[in-house]
Subunit: 224 residues, 4 copies
């Protein structure tokens, strides 16, 4: 197990339950559980909610995406500096629902560093996890295709699925941390992901669409 | 000339001058000139600034882009309902710096209507202006390639450039309004664009990067 | 019914059954049935098969896609002039599996005209069908979402689905022909599509994956 | 210097000089010089020219791009198996003019291996070169931004530009070969690129747009 406590990142996506005033219910639950447990919980709300959430909560706020651009004429794009100015301190990059070219992932990681944002590059298999590590982000978040939408928990899946990706990342750049990005639904999953070498987890609907997000969050942090 | 007063839309893009606290200088100038002149001025700030700007100003706030999605799992995308919840009342779609597929423009126009957002579909020539009109947005904003970055003003250009696009739009759907989206830098340009059939103008750097945006804005509204 | 005989277009896609030597089985069946029936059958093989197919058959050969580019530095793109030089006489544009931006559809239609290629712009609903007609292609091929993969035949579906799209196209540009691009599996479907205003049909797996393509093709042309 | 002779790859792009019958002038020059010199010269013509070129020349023929797809319903895409069936034995992937998502580069490399095609993944800087190496292609072709369109030759540029990329590739996967993809115009450039650790070069307009491609090719192979 790593010395640092694992981190829990909550991707709000664009669900009906997770924008505007409804996003605050989730953020409040996250703040309560983070303070109770001492575990870091990062929230990734939609772009329009970054400013109000950064002002209302002490939780770290990450964007769901940035573009690999510099300030200029880029209508409709996400500028790292503007994300930072709104209060975010990090960003997801290349989420499976917002894939970027390799050149743009590299440019987005560079843009984030320039704007003092932490970076979480999302990947889909062992090979791309190693590739992402070569770009030196803070985190690589792995969504093994065997686990996405499979209902299979990290806690019961073939351990090699996670171990291979952790090894691919660490063999390219041992300073890059790894998040388990699929197969996480309970505290047992979080514990197992950490045992297999992850430095935290990235999850979404399990918390965001929960009737009571605080109950789910308390379970997630219960075994670490 | 149309019975309604023409509208001035300011696209903030992602310039260093136009996000975070610097965006407020432009918005304040716009609000002052709008109130002085009685001319409607719409501001299109970056996504993170929609919420604070909608709260601080009486000006209509439009997004620079939305995606043609419904609420769901769309990490890093722009949901019409979330744009509306943050306080915007309209959106640009298919700007030349954020082109969409035809199917996605159609879906974005539908998403905007569902979320009660006004729509401005941007186009690049006579044929695509007619095509955009078939999707029944509120506005088509035309950037004739002969005028973009040419330094040529609408006031001095071949009048057919604007007239042909206005005719292409109106012949497909006469209820769709037209904005002149290039070649606008002064009050004379605005006056001429309106004479040629436009219902307003869409401009960016001329205001956003101006040393004193209020001076430029006062000139823009001076002849209408 | 139109005075011209309706056309049957076969999209080979990238199935195992439809590239290389296996593509010749389909093309031979199409040539046989075209000659027997006097009905025009167009084949749309993969790019690598355009040259050999154009040389071996008298059938019109269309590409499945072109890019809206001029000759130049566009590695990996499809140049209209190169498609023409290989022997094709037309092209699909904006197929549902290869969507383009509105600006690129417009540029691709222009590139095709420059290279003397006929154009078939594919669309997904009534609004986009009208929009495509504004670009003045030779054909708009409509795939109503109600019919794609539904198993519902044009012959039994609500006739308004086809009629509305035909009307949307003709009201924008009456010279643009319409193809029914979904819900076609038999001669009765072709007959009904033509009665509802189509000038032909575009279909794929029904022919391409058939055990005996000639049997399917003979049925398709049997009632026109 | 590596034990194997360096390879010269010629990207035909989509120039007026490089499709259809004009492509044969370049291919004939390449075949002549390859046979005279014993140096391997690979040609990368447009998709429609892969079949005729593979049949007419003994030179290896590579595609300019493939998609990361399996056989199926992918209209307008490039299937690795169809490229192989047409006679090609390799492919460029992720050229700077045809960028792919990281996930698609990974899928395209896998598709190429499945179809027995050699793979050349193109990259734009040191970080992405390391990332590409993690996907285990046969080659990484590096186009350092400092050299593209700069008129600066590899022979005179800061040697670290090439060395850093070679090191980034080899440190991730020492079995991946490196091509210098920019700054190559003469035999001296090729010699220097090889001295700096490259296993060959990838170039385009210098050969393709030359008045006499054989003269340029003879110079390119003259010092190796």
């Amino acid at each position: 197990m790593p010395e640092e406590k694992p981190v829990i990142m909550i991707n709000f996506k664009t669900y009906n339950e997770s924008y505007g005033f409804r996003a605050h219910d989730i953020a409040e639950a996250a703040e309560t559980v983070a303070e109770e447990s001492g575990i870091e919980i990062v929230i990734c709300p939609g772009f329009m909610d970054i400013h109000p959430m950064s002002n209302h909560y002490r939780l770290p706020v990450f964007a769901q995406h940035i573009d690999g651009i510099s300030p200029g004429a880029h209508t409709g794009h996400i500028l790292a500096e503007a994300v930072r100015a709104a209060g975010a301190t990090g960003t997801l990059i290349n989420h499976s629902e917002r894939r970027l070219t390799l050149a743009d992932i590299s440019a987005a990681v560079d843009a984030a560093k320039r704007a003092n944002l932490k970076t979480v590059v999302c990947t889909n298999n062992t090979a791309t996890s190693g590739a992402a590590a070569a770009l030196s982000p803070d985190y690589v978040a792995i969504e093994p295709p065997e686990l996405i939408g499979s209902g299979i928990s990290v806690a019961t899946a073939d351990p090699e699925i996670i171990e291979n990706s952790v090894n691919a990342v660490k063999s390219v750049n041992k300073d890059v941390k790894v998040l388990a990005g699929a197969g996480i639904s309970s505290g047992s999953c979080v514990k197992r992901a950490v045992e297999l070498g992850s430095d935290g987890v990235l999850l979404a609907s399990g918390v965001v669409k929960a009737e009571d997000p605080a109950v789910v969050l308390r379970d997630l942090v219960s075994k670490i």
